[in-house]
Amino acid sequence: MTLWLLAAPLAAADPMPGLVRSRDALRRLDCERLSAWDAADRYPGRVPRPEGREVDPDRTYVVCADRLFAPGFRDPGAEAALWGMSDTAASAAAAARATGLARIWHVEVFHASSPVAAKLGFAVKAALVAEGLAVSDRAPRLGPDDLDVLLRLEPLRAYPAACARWAATGGLSGEDALLGVVQLDRRATALQVGVCADGGWTWLR
């Protein structure tokens, strides 16, 4: 696994495309900027700890590492969703907290890929717990007749209708709220977030 450590502003090992490095090689990289302390903690022996010397607050390290899965190994839509999964989960949880609802939160993810949906659901639940919210693993159920009708509706009408049915059938009570993470279009990588509470659906993002 190739790893470059680039101490800005010194470009000692520049991973940018050039004579000996192609654009494809750059696409396989995932880069992040770290402070000198974080880089020394994460890569001991390769980055010296800034101790015993005057610490330069502007000195940072850009660490580029090969992605664990090369582009093309997994479905591009799934890869896009999984690459930003932590950020997606954190932002969804923050949006849920911002509603101010003191409820028991349930999570449902609607994504074209079932494995990705399961992963996103796990991540969102963990993020909600990290936000200090009460979370339940219970999945509110809908009957087959309800599902038959909802699947025939366009997405923007289906979710509010599902929320109403959950409230009507007792799947969600007045003490519950459901955070929905939705892929409205199979071709889209951005995910929308909505909340179902008291039989009413609200889009948060």
Binding site: P44, F73, R74
Partner: protein, 396 residues
Amino acid sequence: MRRRGVDVVAVTPALLAAALAAAPPEERQLAELDRVRATIADQIQLSAYDLVDELVHGWTVSPPFPAPTPVVLAGVTVPVGLGTGLQALVENHLTAVLGHHPTTHLQLVHCPACAAVVVRSGPEATVISRGVDDPAVLADLGGDGGRYALFLDLEAEGARLVLRARLTRLTPELPIVWARTLSSAAGAPALLRQPDDLVSAEAARAEYLDALRDRGPISVPARLAIRTYALPDDDGVPPPPYLWLQTGVELATTTDQAWTASLVAGYSFVPQAYQGILAQARVHRLVSGRSRSHVRPDLYAFAGAAVISTWGPATIAFRDRPVNTDELLAAAALEGPRTSFGALHTGLEVRLGQRLGFSAFLETLPSLADSGNLGAYVRVLGVPFASFGSEVTCWF
């Protein structure tokens, strides 16, 4: 090897490659996909273990339960695209680490009904689910209803491997009582903590750095070297082989010991033949990896310069004109001239645990390049390398 009357023949890699080449394209693609999956799983396995170690270490510091509590390992999921092999490895590692650390208060219990698909029919509906998703079924099957379920999920997000874990109480409302997210950056060295005595990540990194630094950046080499000289092409008498005892100081200029520099002094003595002293400086560069290894030999390339001063009856060959036999016999009766010259050398060295090293090098003597008494083992861009040396070094 014979098994059940069927001969099992060892298939060579060449035969296997030929078999794959003859397979349909779809099978070749599937085989290549399996190979890539295995490679990726091998790469992330240690990082996955690291994350599990960090998770369990966190439980030893801050247990999620006040007392030992039965917990069902309800599910371990691995990155999308990988198979059940890595899943089994992570499960086994988690089980082993938890078994060695009862202070986590997590007692893994076996619950076949939890992972099984169960069907529960009632007046309202027929529900098909896993047992862990329907605690009412577990209660009907005789469970005590007070258990907890542990879920683990590993996923690759770009260059990071992320572990998520949650504990769910197996009651009808399935409340999540604990959850945590840990991530590991690709390229960061695995901490390789002992599973039966976990330490914190900071302590593990400190141990790793101590192992890297070992005895510190400065070491003292003690070296036995021999230099031989190539036979001349024309008439002339080559110098005899020189046996050198050398010692000095070597400095590792980087923490990972990828670059080192040494300064040594040497002495050579053969009775009634020659004596010699030398001063030598070298720079070594690690070529077998990015940092010194603790588990395999390291290969260094080096280049250096030496100043050699020698005297004695056998040193007459170190001059810029050929020596004939008469002159050699006449010199044997005398002390012999004192000759000093410079030399440049380059070579390779294999080091074992930075304690024992074996090296070989080629040396050129610029001031004696036109000497009729020295040949050349090899010429590079017209530069004759007249001397070949080998060494054994111990570091203290």
